[in-house]
């Protein structure tokens, strides 16, 4: 019997508790507790809590996290405060995957097979600076779940471009000037597809807009051993120039436009995709974000919009999103 909102909302009074999300549970861990200094409507604070609460449930609370430098660290742990509700290690910008590897190795040496390891960072620390460490962690198949919270730029240091910044987006280092304003087309990389190419046991993408999907992926990843990678799109109201209350909606539009494909893979192959439910043109996703304002003002850049739409269409076809 379908419920009003059974498969989309966080919970529902009509659903049996075991079918509700971890976030619906009043005993959820709240891995990042209140009082952290993330911006209003921060998608990363939300995404990290979703992931870590779910991982804590799957590991029955026996979890250690290694965190790369970035927004997530800065807003959660200004010395001497911490918002984290689990054993948590600070690391430098580029070595979180290596630190996580070290923790896993130490646990193995001590025979603590019950304790699990989580590495996490933003797209700067993961896709760019920590990428060598991450690739090493993958190729050695270390027993770590590594999660990248992708907000498509170096937001902590003032919104600079990263290897995950989408084309045409304005950042402090890709200003909206010249004939091709914003970030250039044809650069950057897809970290999840590179992770998949390492033929590790599990790779998945997710967003803060589909909690059931995100939690199911964390749970699946936690049920496996070896190197696992989860890439979560998290909205940045500050860096993207979006309203704080729109964070979830914009992440949803990213998936429904096809610009952010949501999929799962294993050992080199894509094994499942989350289909688009209500397809929208890329304009619907771009318009509410000031980083793309130069595509609409002072004149409508239909040429650039067409190139972005072509990227979405390619994703839709390549991953079979419809």
């Amino acid at each position: 019997m379908p419920y009003q909102v059974g498969s989309f909302a966080v919970g529902n009074r009509l659903l049996p508790p075991e079918e509700r999300t971890t976030q619906a549970d009043p005993r959820r861990a709240n891995a990042i507790t209140s009082g952290h200094r993330a911006c209003r409507g921060c998608g990363e604070a939300l995404g990290a809590r979703y992931v870590v609460d779910s991982a804590l449930r799957a590991s029955e609370g026996r979890l250690i996290a290694a965190n790369a430098t970035g927004c997530l660290e800065v807003f959660s742990t200004p010395y001497p405060e911490s918002a984290w509700q689990l054993p948590w290690l600070h690391s430098v910008f580029g070595n979180a995957p290596a630190v996580a590897t070290g923790i896993a190795a130490a646990l193995k040496a001590k025979g603590r097979t019950d304790v699990r390891v989580l590495g996490q960072g933003g797209d700067g620390g993961t896709v760019d600076i920590g990428f060598a460490c991450l690739s090493g962690m993958f190729e050695r198949n270390d027993d770590v779940l590594y999660v990248c919270y992708d907000n498509e730029g170096y937001m902590n240091t003032g919104v600079q471009r990263s290897g995950a910044t989408p084309p045409a987006a304005r950042t402090a280092t890709t200003e909206a000037v010249g004939d091709e304003p914003g970030n250039v087309f044809g650069q950057g990389k897809s970290a999840p597809l590179i992770a998949l190419a390492h033929e590790i046991p599990y790779v998945a993408t997710a967003t803060i807009a589909d909690l059931h999907d995100l939690e199911a992926k964390v749970e699946r990843a936690m049920g496996m051993h070896g190197a696992r990678y989860l890439h979560v799109l998290v909205t940045c109201p500050l860096g993207w120039g979006a309203e704080a209350h729109d964070s979830v909606r914009i992440a949803r539009l990213a998936t429904q436009s096809g610009l952010f494909p949501v999929f799962e893979g294993s050992r080199g192959d894509v094994t499942a995709v989350t289909k688009i439910r209500r397809r929208v043109p890329v304009e619907d996703y771009l318009r509410p974000q000031r980083r793309f304002r130069h595509l609409f003002e002072p004149e409508l850049r239909t040429d650039v919009l067409a190139r972005i739409q072509a990227r979405a269409d390619r994703n839709i076809e390549r991953f079979g999103l419809l």
Binding site: V10, P80, S82, V248, R249
Partner: protein
């Protein structure tokens, strides 16, 4: 000072940092009126009772209806459900089948024998209700529950008014009507049938009544002048439908013409078909889009083989034949004669040109004003004569069963206030929950469940009910299609999407299922934006 190397401060928690100070706006839980509720002429709140039906608590859902409307099984059959026309789900896929769920609940109550008891102790006040139609019965029900001593005087041989003597059995089986009326009488309401009130003041004085409610309905068919031969058979639709409740059904012949375009005209034509007429033709002056009859009624009639002559008036009636004139609409949509005449064979002409009330009983009561056949009343339905209230079809209203039920409830509130020495002020309606305030993404795709219909062959020859009811599983499914516009239904979205853990889940819930932790809420508004049903609003912080 025995801290580890290079550590100078004690470990602290972010909880020390009260981020609530960042806020410029704060979220508040609200309860806005769902469109179904603001469009219900009977004053029901369908969203509120569907909430209980969603949980499968049918008795509680039924009791929530009964707070406003004592005739759910009747409503679930004859109401034209303006709630569904207003339903926000109609903009998503299809409107929630509110009417079919109401019927299910009404039938369930009859099946299970659920009853209602008086809510208040006896006041010793006596109230006279004139007329046992939907309005009078509704008022009697509410007045009895409020502890008053109610006596209904009904001119006809049985209670129900137009529900019994106007609406055919194939739309409203009489067992259903009787069951719901008996439940009202079970509250201790005294009913006198065949007791016509001609002198209201006299009856009130003789019976020591403290107040009266006049709900006589509109039982006189309007007439139009049609030149007719001496052998032409003409009768009015109200009398014809009333005749269906007598021992001898009216004799109409093989070919029956019905003149008019309202629901009564359609009822008359469908009844004529069932009485054996080979041809039943509705003659209407204008076009289909201007017809006052409800589309569903017309559609069912056409399915049963009723014919319609559009843009036609009856100019003359003779034995076995009518002369019709073709009309055309002018720019203002008013029908104008064309001078083109056609003949139509018809054994009987039924006039369904609207109804009027017999207001003779009010004429002698002091202070009552009647303009154009409409009794003037205040917002509490009190007339110019102290203690005399008036409703139903004799005050301006859409002529359905539902509006009078609502008037009966308002009149009961008005009378109750009057008897306590006060005046009833209807509460102003709260803001309506608009479609724009919803976040429809979260609702499952779920097209509505259709009610089964009687096959055509049986509809043409019998008075069996045409539209069937939903079974329990479909009723539950249909109830769960409700979007709960403007009222929290505990989906946990706000609790989940807050990046600051600033939503507290109350277990058990109070007036709301959640509360905001304003020590930490930064006022981002994500909870408001992601609330499926628009039950959270942002308000500016005071400066």
């Amino acid at each position: 000072m025995d801290k580890p190397f290079a550590i100078s401060l004690e470990v602290g928690s972010s909880l020390a940092n009260k981020t609530g100070t960042w806020r410029t706006e704060r979220p508040v839980y609200v309860r806005n009126t769902a469109p179904c509720a603001s469009h219900c002429p009977a004053g029901e709140d369908p969203q509120a009772w569907l909430y209980h039906a969603e949980e499968g608590d049918y008795e509680r859902a039924w009791r929530a209806i009964m707070e406003h409307n004592p005739l759910p099984a009747v409503m679930g059959r004859v109401c034209y459900h303006p709630c569904e026309a207003a339903c926000n789900r109609g903009r998503l896929d299809e409107a929630v089948g509110i009417n079919s769920v109401e019927r299910f609940l009404g039938d369930e109550a009859i099946r299970c024998g659920w009853t209602i008891s008086r809510a208040a102790a006896s006041t010793g006040k006596r109230v006279l209700v004139v007329g046992a139609g939907p309005s009078g019965l509704s008022a009697a029900y509410h007045l009895a529950r409020l502890g008053h001593d109610v006596e209904i005087h009904e001119a006809g041989p049985a209670p129900g008014g137009m529900m019994r003597f106007g609406i055919p059995r194939y739309r409203l089986p009489r067992e259903v009507l009787d069951a719901e009326i008996d439940r009202i009488l079970g509250l201790g309401v005294t009913l006198h049938c065949n007791r016509r009130v001609d002198d209201l003041t006299g009856v009130m004085r003789d019976g020591a009544f403290d107040a009266a409610f006049v709900a006589v309905g509109a039982h006189l068919g309007k007439r139009a002048y049609i030149p007719a031969g001496s052998a032409a058979r003409m009768l009015d639709a109200v009398a014809m439908l009333r005749g269906m409740e007598g021992e001898q059904p009216p004799l109409l012949g093989r070919r029956v013409a019905v003149y008019g375009g309202g629901n009564t005209a359609i009822d008359a034509a469908r009844t004529a078909k069932r009485l054996g007429a080979e041809e039943a033709v509705v003659i209407y002056r204008r076009t289909r889009d201007r017809m006052p009859a409800h589309d569903s009624e017309l559609e069912e009639a056409l399915e049963e083989g009723v014919l319609v002559k559009w843009l036609s008036t009856v100019r003359r009636a003779d034995e076995g034949r009518l002369v019709l004139e073709r009309m055309e609409l002018d720019e203002s949509g008013f029908p104008q004669p064309t001078g083109e005449f056609v003949e139509l064979e018809a054994d009987a002409l039924v006039l369904a040109l609207g109804q009027e009330s017999d207001l003779g009983l009010l004429e002698r009561a002091p202070g009552i004003e009647i303009h154009d056949g409409v009794v003037q009343v205040g917002p509490d339905l009190m007339t110019g004569c102290e203690g005399v209230f008036c409703s139903g079809d004799i005050v301006p209203a859409e002529r359905t069963v539902t509006a009078p039920v609502g008037h009966g409830r308002v009149a009961a509130a008005g009378i109750d206030a009057y008897l306590r020495g006060a005046r009833y002020e209807p509460e102003p309606a709260g803001p309506e929950a608009s479609f724009e305030a919803l976040t429809p993404w979260y609702y499952d795709d779920a097209p509505r469940t259709m009610r089964p219909r009687l096959e055509r062959a049986r509809r043409e020859s019998t008075f069996d009910e045409v539209v069937g009811g939903l079974d329990a599983a479909s009723a539950l499914f249909e109830a769960r299609r409700c979007l709960s516009c403007g009222s929290c239904f505990a989906c946990d979205n706000c609790y989940g999407v807050c990046p600051d853990n600033a939503v507290i889940k109350l277990e058990p819930g109070g007036a709301y299922a959640y509360a905001f932790d304003l020590d930490y809420c930064k006022g981002c508004g994500l909870c408001m934006a992601e609330c499926p049903c628009g039950a959270i609003e942002m308000v500016p912080e005071p400066i």
